[in-house]
Amino acid sequence: MDTLKINNLKTYFHTKEGLVKAVDGVSFNIKKGEVFGLVGESGSGKTLTALSTLKLVPAPAEIGGEVFFNGADILKMSEAYLRGIRGSKIAIVFQEPSTSLDPVFTIGYQMMEAIYAHRSPEDRSRARKIVLGYLERVHMPDPARIFHNYPHQLSGGTKQRVMIAMALINSPELLILDEPTTALDVTIQAQILDLLDEIIEKEKLSILFISHDLGIIARMCDRVAVMYKGRLVEMGDKADILNDPKEPYTRSLLESVKALA
């Protein structure tokens, strides 16, 4: 059973310089409980693929193709219906936790908002307790203090833990991680990846893991697609792609990493 199945996704922009095919006929599927890696360099279209999946690309972008989430085409859903899915059934964690969080509200307030937006009145009345539970879940040392903190009072790693807790709070079926550790120091990155390992193990989530870093993809993913200039140039099991790449682009990417290892 596929949690996500994308057919021939196209995201085009009409610019002064002409048509830009940011995502140009991308197809892949993510099975239930699978961690699917999307790797590519900057500008390859990874993030736009993720945003298009949630129909979050602003006009005048043109999105074509099909994005099936549990069998229903997201691109055909109404805005109102989609709002019920985003942040609940499908959650996303972005690279930059400092810009993902609103600087003028406390962590607790922002996390409770996620509950108010999607949960039953019963759950809303115990929102605070749920939030504290999720902060504990991501191993926050002092949840009660973090609850009352503002984003600027927290380190980058702690903020990313908050983002992960917030993404999990409505029990999503699909979690999109868009370069979740790229802004962090390597030692903090290692901690966050450990946390993600633990979550993947426990929750059996389907995950779309986007990264420019083949090391992270190698550590985290089951299957991998390599994206280049809006297209998937190669896709397969992680071990096949990393040990025996067929495409020249994948090879050049791996050779660069190898030269630096």
Partner: protein
């Protein structure tokens, strides 16, 4: 011969809350020999950039002594989007250091041409503006600007951190070639041990304003003594060889 010598350098800043001091550099002593590539590795906030700025003379240490004997010093920074003036043409960017030294016009043109060839940019680049170039090309321009004055010492502060890995390798190869060919002394600052290992002869690992370990690259990389160095090394995610 020593190009840079630091003796017990300290540099403190008032903390953001205004209540205390941030010990950005807290008693660092080191020596960089002529023609060597010296790596300074550490995570964000460890004080490596502050130390680099002190060696450049941009910041003055609170206490301690810095002796730089290099005749000409240059810098290459992380983000070529911010370090190149968007309103200047590439020719003006690269030649500025020579113009300031009042070199004759024909000598400037010759040296700019040589620098351009060295960083492998086409001649028609000279009449363009920074926004017309990719990140990697912009970093080539920044390197061209640095080498045009024939410096003896260059501080490279995270020169490849904002680049894609294939471009990183190109720029690192270029920096290495230039360093060897002209025996320029480098202070190479990076959070990435792999990049430092690729370029440097010696490495100092910095943490919270102090150097926790220092030595030749092979020793640091293959037999680290300090627990923090070990932690940094173990955080590197291997792709090759990939094992299932």
């Amino acid at each position: 011969m020593t190009i840079v010598k630091c003796e017990n350098i300290k540099k403190f800043f008032p903390s953001q809350k205004g209540t205390g001091l941030v010990k950005a550099v807290d008693g660092v002593s080191l020596e960089i020999k002529k023609g060597r590539a010296f790596g300074l590795v550490g995570e964000s906030g460890s004080g490596k950039t502050t130390l680099g700025k002190i060696m450049l003379g941009i910041l003055r240490p609170d206490s301690g002594k810095v002796i730089v004997t290099a005749k000409r010093t240059q810098a290459i920074f992380q983000d070529p989007h911010n370090s190149l003036d968007p309103k200047m043409k590439i020719f003006d960017i690269i030649s500025e250091g020579l113009v300031l030294k009042k070199e004759p016009r024909d000598s400037i043109i010759k040296k700019v041409d040589e620098a351009l060839e060295l960083v492998r940019l086409p001649r028609n680049a000279l009449n363009k503006y920074p926004h017309q170039f990719s990140g990697g090309e912009r970093q080539r321009i920044a390197i061209g600007r640095a080498v045009v004055t024939h410096p003896e010492f260059i501080v490279c502060d995270e020169p490849v951190s904002s680049l894609d890995v294939t471009i990183q390798l190109q720029i690192l190869n270029l920096l290495k070639d230039i360093q060897k060919r002209f025996s320029i002394t480098y202070l190479f600052i990076s959070h990435d041990l792999r990049a430092v290992k690729f370029i440097c002869d010696e490495i100092a690992v910095m943490r919270e304003g102090k150097i926790v370990e220092e030595g030749v690259t092979e020793d640091i990389y293959f037999s680290p003594k300090d627990p923090y160095t070990r932690l940094l090394l173990s955080s590197i995610l291997d792709v090759y060889p990939f094992k299932t």
